[in-house]
């Protein structure tokens, strides 16, 4: 047994986290900044933060993650990191020539109280920021919130620096995306295109973190939201924010800064959430839903019809980020499955309320927990006490899955042990079909493996 010390008996913990289901803010800020064209994230802290975040993002996306660090030493921790950051900005523009440097803080620079806004201004005043180039920043103390908070904070920083209102509205809408794969961002753009809606999607890591192999390393791949697009978000008619935890606050900021009305909905994962996404798009842009999307939806429902008998009443444990878990739980309910344990390390009261609403009729006794001490150790204990048929979550779930011999679907971040997740979407109707196929394969492989010889079936 790999997790041999995990007892069935659950003791309350207040101080000890074991096997966390969240990361810290800066990695989220780094990922969000990578979705801006020509942008280089910068970690204002010790080298280790940047090294850890780059390593984790690289292992998940299997792509170059270019980011720099202020390389704090003991001296800079005592005297402040201004000299380090100003020098870093100068070096990055000189050597790596980004259009934008996106600075985020760390627990170190926050604890010593570095005023990053002032330091960035000093870099500008000192002429360290070339004409037409930008330094933006956000505060991401690692001891507040989670990686999702950091992602959200970087989006707020982007809006603060770039979004401008000229007073003349453009015939376009913003889609502010929560933390999803580059393939998902591509799918969102595809759907908008099919509906004939001009959008600015931000951030947009497609064509950056799924860049093709060409024999040439593009330091700044062609994808990402461009500066003119970001500026124009202030003139958009409407913002659709996908995922309340990651994008509601940025959408609010954009509304108060540039009077861009917004609606926050779930990430379009699964049938119902995609339905709401399509309706929201259709309403906001005042366009009809095209036939091709209706057909795609029909195909998804057809597949559910075909698969439903295998899903019925299967018990599922899920962990990950709230914005994914909420629509995913809803999808499982749509499939007649029973999401019995839902857990996230990211705090926020909305999470439990939303999940409870979704499960009110189908699984009223589901265990739902998020925030402090909501960790994989607890999830494992729940499973030990009353097992499930399927676990869904990031790669760390495989230890529980192996010990308890339970089929395991990798979804979320980070996925460190497989290739492909960043290339195929899980959002939209097409994404839902893929999720369904994966779940079904896991359940059927299990049935094939476990069935006796006489009940082993050719046709299923």
């Amino acid at each position: 047994m790999l997790l041999r010390h995990t007892p069935e008996e659950i003791k309350e913990r207040k101080a000890l986290t074991v096997n966390p289901a969240k990361m810290c803010q800066p990695i989220g800020a780094m990922y969000a900044a990578l979705g801006i064209h020509g942008c280089m994230p910068h970690s204002h802290g010790s080298q280790g933060c940047c090294a850890y975040h780059r390593s984790t993002l690289t292992r998940h996306y299997k792509e170059p993650i270019m980011a720099a660090t202020s390389s704090f030493t003991e001296g800079s921790s005592v005297f402040g990191g201004q000299a380090n950051l100003v020098q870093a900005i100068n070096n990055m523009f000189t050597i790596y020539n980004p259009d934008i440097i996106a600075v985020h803080t760390t627990c170190l620079s926050e604890t010593i109280g570095d005023d990053v806004n002032q330091i960035c201004q000093k870099a500008r005043d000192d002429g360290k920021v070339p004409e037409g180039k930008h330094v933006i920043h956000c505060n991401t103390p690692s001891y507040v919130g989670s990686h999702i908070t950091g992602y959200s904070n970087m989006l707020k920083g982007i809006i603060k620096y770039f979004s401008k209102s000229t007073g003349i509205k453009k015939d376009q809408m913003n889609i502010i995306s929560g933390w999803v794969e580059p393939s998902d961002m591509k799918e969102i753009k595809k759907i908008a295109k099919e509906m004939g809606i001009k959008i600015v999607l931000f951030p947009d890591t497609s064509d950056i973190l799924d860049a093709p192999q060409t024999g040439v390393h593009a330091f700044y791949p062609k994808g990402g939201t461009t500066i003119p697009e970001l500026i124009s978000t202030g003139d958009s008619k409407f913002s659709l924010a996908l995922g309340e935890f990651a994008t509601d606050a940025p959408a609010k900021d954009l509304n108060s800064k540039c009077k861009v009305k917004f609606k926050t909905i779930d990430l379009p994962i699964g049938l119902s959430a995609t339905d709401r996404f399509i309706v929201a798009l259709s309403n906001a842009a005042d366009v009809d839903v095209p036939e091709c999307i209706t057909e795609e939806r029909g195909r998804l429902v057809d597949i559910i019809t075909d698969m439903q008998q295998y899903f019925y009443n299967k018990r599922v444990a899920l962990f990950g980020d709230p914005d994914q878990l909420i629509p995913l739980t809803e999808l499982l309910v749509d499939l007649d499955m029973k999401p019995v344990y839902i857990l996230s390390g990211t705090s926020g009261k909305v999470f439990v309320r939303r999940i409870k609403e979704i499960l009110a009729e189908s699984v009223p006794n589901a265990k739902v927990k998020n925030g402090a001490n909501a960790d994989l150790f607890l999830l494992h204990q729940w499973i030990k006490n009353d097992p499930v048929d399927l676990i869904i979550g990031n790669t760390y779930g495989k230890y529980i899955a192996r010990d308890e011999d339970i089929p395991f679907l990798r979804m979320g971040f980070p996925i460190l042990d497989r290739v492909g997740h960043s290339y195929f979407p899980t959002v939209g109707y097409a994404g839902a079909m893929r999720v369904l196929e994966k779940i079904l394969n896991l359940l059927m492989d299990r049935q094939d493996r476990d069935s006796s010889e006489e009940s082993f079936e050719l046709v299923m």
Partner: protein, 541 residues
């Protein structure tokens, strides 16, 4: 190395000028001291273990990473508790591939991540209370025999005294609890963390158990982390030779082994950088000599085993060592012959670690490949130039704050394993105790030695030399491969391996054949693209 023709390597000084041209003058000046076109026929000096320039994309991590990753990270029967916000614990959770064999009943906390998950109120009001509670909760649930506490950046800044907490809780719970002040900002790289880890394990664990194990030849293996199962292969070899392994710092290791390690009669140092402190302290306090060995590469492994044989000066041991080498070599030769036609004459670059960038050069040489650029991520001058530079090393502001333990002879337990006379005799017989010449003397003229290589320098080297393979870590992996150049991770082995000793060498030969000659490198160019071929034939003249 004789198979590189001189004209293959352009003049190093000129290449260096090109590399530095893009840097602002101050950065260029600083970096120029860390980039050396190698010429071992003359006095050479490389700047290392100095601060990375802010804004330069570096391979380096932090003190915490070095401290938690080394010594206790790969040790299974201790709870390693990170005191800090959640990230540090999360990102160091199971990511280093240190394998371990706890047996069916043994303790194994390595698949777990323990953290105090500090929140803003802990930063404002102090985190000691939460740390104590976390230790108590860990004890109540797991009943471990030991708990290590690892400090992250904010801990030192807000002044939490983890050592006082450790003492108090050790007293209260009656198990071994100790702390590591390895805040990320200390030192200039992971290296400071290695030193801190060495110190604390020596202070709090080494020497706690005096029981001498059975066996004629008792040894410790220092600086072997069992990535991908390397240590398992080495253990097997030792057993077949009749050597008794007391402890490995740290791979497939346990706290109990460390407590007992001072009973050994010889220390073998694999990774010089990360663990030489423990080797030195074991010698000073207990009289155990150490020798630098290298179990990467079949030739180096055979040489290392024979040195061990000479040290113990026992005919039967030497006979068994020769027998084992003879048993292992046919498979090695067979694999070598098989891959040689595909690898001979090709160029490699290696930028990792504290010793690997040196060790792997021999392994490459065995399949006819030359290492034309190499460097370390967190090494010191002695790892490049040899221990002869140690007396003249200046301690700078960043190293001064890392504790240097004052170790004295143990009044009862100090027992020199060899007399001075015996040591002199060994030296005459070619057994080199406490010596290491470093990487640079082993490298060919005009090859490049670069400390703490940056992203920009990596790109320039690749563009200039078009190596057949570039070795580094995960952060460098895809920037290299996007250029159509095969990349091999030498931290994680790309999840393959083991690569140590003889069986590992066979794995590595075949792995290199696969890496360099995979069909994919010929598929990059679409048939409709008429631009000249830029991939697939690198270095294969």
């Amino acid at each position: 190395m004789e198979n590189i023709k001189k004209e293959v390597l352009p003049d190093g000084e000129m290449v260096m000028e090109d590399i530095l041209a893009k840097y602002p003058p101050k950065v260029a000046k600083k970096r120029s001291k860390s980039i050396v076109p190698n010429d071992s026929s003359r006095e050479q000096s490389i700047q290392s273990n100095v601060r990375t320039v802010p804004g330069i994309i570096t391979q380096r991590g932090c003190c915490y990473a070095g401290c938690k990753g080394v010594v206790l990270g790969p040790t299974r029967d201790i709870i390693n508790l990170t005191h800090g916000p959640i990230g540090c614990g999360f990102f160091s959770w199971l990511t280093r591939r240190n394998q371990t064999r706890p047996g069916p009943e043994g303790d194994n906390y390595m698949p777990y991540c323990f953290s105090t998950d500090m929140q803003d109120d802990n930063i404002v009001f102090g985190g000691e209370k939460k740390l104590k509670e976390a230790i108590q909760e860990a004890y109540d649930i797991f009943h471990p025999k030991a708990i290590g506490i690892f400090a992250t950046c904010p801990v030192g800044l807000i002044g939490d005294d983890i050592h006082a907490v450790a003492r108090e809780m050790k007293e209260k719970l009656g198990i071994n609890i100790f702390g590591f002040s390895c805040e990320g900002y200390k030192g200039v790289s992971q290296s400071a963390g290695h030193h801190i880890a060495n110190n604390q394990i020596f202070k709090h664990v080494v020497g706690l158990d005096d029981k001498r194990k059975k066996g004629k030849f008792l040894i410790n293996l220092l600086g072997e982390y069992n990535i991908g199962g390397d240590a398992f292969l080495i253990e097997d070899l030792f057993e077949r030779c009749g050597l008794t392994l007391i402890s490995t710092f740290s791979g497939n290791s346990s706290i109990e082994q460390f407590a007992n390690c001072h009973t050994a009669d010889l220390n073998l140092v694999m990774c010089h950088r990360s663990i030489n402190y423990v080797a030195d302290m074991l010698e000073k306090k207990f009289g155990i000599p150490w020798m630098k060995i290298n179990f990467i590469g079949a030739n180096a492994s055979a040489v290392s085993l024979r040195q061990i044989g000479k040290y113990f000066n026992d005919k039967e041991l030497s006979r068994r060592i020769e027998k084992v080498i003879a048993e292992e070599m046919p498979a090695v030769e067979e694999a070598r012959k098989e891959v040689m036609p595909h690898t001979k004459g090709k160029l490699a670059m290696i930028f990792v670690g504290g010793s690997r960038a040196h060790h792997y050069q021999g392994l490459f040489a065995e399949i006819g490949m030359s290492t034309i650029a190499a460097g370390y991520e967190f090494a010191h001058k002695d790892d490049y130039e040899g221990r002869k530079v140690l007396p003249d090393l200046k301690v700078d502001a960043d190293s001064r704050n890392i504790e240097e333990l004052v170790v004295e002879k143990d009044p009862e337990r100090y027992k020199p394993r060899k007399s001075q006379e015996e040591l002199n005799k060994l030296k005459k017989a070619g057994v080199r105790m406490k010596e290491y010449d470093g990487m640079m003397p082993d490298m060919v003229k005009n090859s490049f030695v670069i400390d703490d290589i940056s992203q920009h320098e990596t790109e320039m080297l690749i563009a200039k030399y078009k190596p057949a393979v570039f070795c580094a870590g995960i952060k460098e992996k895809y920037t290299v491969q996007k250029r159509g150049v095969p990349m091999k991770q030498l931290h994680s082995y790309d999840y393959g391996g083991p690569f140590a000793v003889f069986k590992g060498a066979v794995n590595f030969y075949r792995e290199m054949d696969r890496t360099i000659n995979s069909k994919v490198w010929g598929l990059i160019k679409p048939p409709w693209d008429s631009s000249p071929e830029i991939t697939a034939t690198f270095g294969s003249e």
